[in-house]
Symmetry: C2
C-alpha cells in the first residue's frame, strides 16, 4: 500500500500558502521545494478542483487558499489529491464460488470489510483533527525565525 507522493507536496504547499497574502505561482512553489514544476501543477489543479485553493490567472497570478488555514484539515488535502476512496475495497468474495452466499442472505456487511472500514475511519479521523493552520504553527515554532524570514522574502521576490 502506497499513497501518492503528491500528497506530501500538496501539504507543504498548503502550509506555505497559509502565510501568503498574494498569489504564489506554481513554478515558485516547485522551485522552493525542488520538485517537478509540471507535476506539482497537476497536484495544485486537484486542490483547485476540490475547492481548497483558488487560482488567479494573469501575470501576477498564482494560488491562494480559499479558506483560513485553520479551517482546512489534513484530510481535506489528502482526499483531494489521493482520492476519497478507502484503501480496501470489498469485492464480496462470499457471494462467489460454489459455496456462494445468496445476496438476499447478505443483510449484514462482510465482517472483513467492516473491520477494514473501522480502521479506515480511525485513520481519516486522525487526519481530520489536524488543520493546516496547526501544522503551520508547529513549523513556525520549531524553525529558527531567521530561516522563516528569509523564506518569506524569497517568496515575495
Amino acid at each position: 500500500m502506497k499513497m501518492t507522493g503528491g500528497v506530501e507536496w500538496g501539504l507543504h504547499c498548503c502550509v506555505v500558502l497559509s502565510s501568503a497574502t498574494e498569489p504564489v505561482a506554481a513554478a515558485k512553489l516547485a522551485e522552493l521545494h525542488d520538485v517537478s514544476a509540471t507535476y506539482l501543477a497537476k497536484q495544485l489543479q486537484l486542490l483547485s478542483r476540490a475547492g481548497l485553493v483558488r487560482s488567479t490567472p494573469g501575470q501576477l497570478g498564482g494560488y491562494l487558499l480559499t479558506r483560513p488555514a485553520t479551517e482546512i484539515t489534513v484530510l481535506d488535502v489528502v482526499e483531494a489529491i489521493d482520492g476519497p476512496q478507502p484503501a480496501f475495497r470489498c469485492t464480496e468474495v462470499r457471494q462467489r464460488g460454489p459455496m456462494a452466499v445468496p445476496p438476499e442472505r447478505c443483510d449484514t456487511p462482510c465482517p472483513i470489510a467492516a473491520v477494514m472500514d473501522t480502521a479506515d475511519r480511525a485513520w481519516r479521523e486522525s487526519l481530520r483533527v489536524v488543520t493546516i493552520g496547526a501544522l503551520a504553527a508547529t513549523v513556525t515554532a520549531t524553525t529558527p525565525g531567521e530561516l522563516l524570514d528569509r523564506a518569506r522574502v524569497w517568496l515575495s521576490a
Copy 2:
C-alpha cells in the same frame, strides 16, 4: 491509495483455515472463492514466509494455520501480504530547495510526517485488536448454519 487486492483473499483464506483440521490445498481455497489459483498461491506463500501458515507438501498436503486463530490478528495478515511499510513516506522536502533547512537543524521530525505517522498507528491499532478468530466467530454467527455445514463437507471432500 489502494491496498493490494490479495489482502482480502488472504483474510478469507485464514478465516476458512481457522476451522480446518486437515491441510487445505491452495487450489481448493481458490475454487471456493472463485479467484485465480496461481495468484492466490502467491499470497499464501507470503503468509507462509511470515510464519502465519504452514505448508505441507505431498499428496494430501496443503495449508494450515500455525497458531490458534485467536492469536492471529488482522494486522498480521495485512502486513504479511501488503508489506509493513506505512503508506506515507516522508522525503524530507524541507531539506531541499533554495530555502532548505540544514540537517543539523532538523532535530524535530517533520510535522507533516508526524501527523501521518499518528494516523498510520491508529489504523494499525484498529487492525491489531481484531483477530482471525473473532472474524470467524462473526461469520459463524451471521451465516445460516446450513450453509456452514455445506461448506465444511465441501472442503473436506
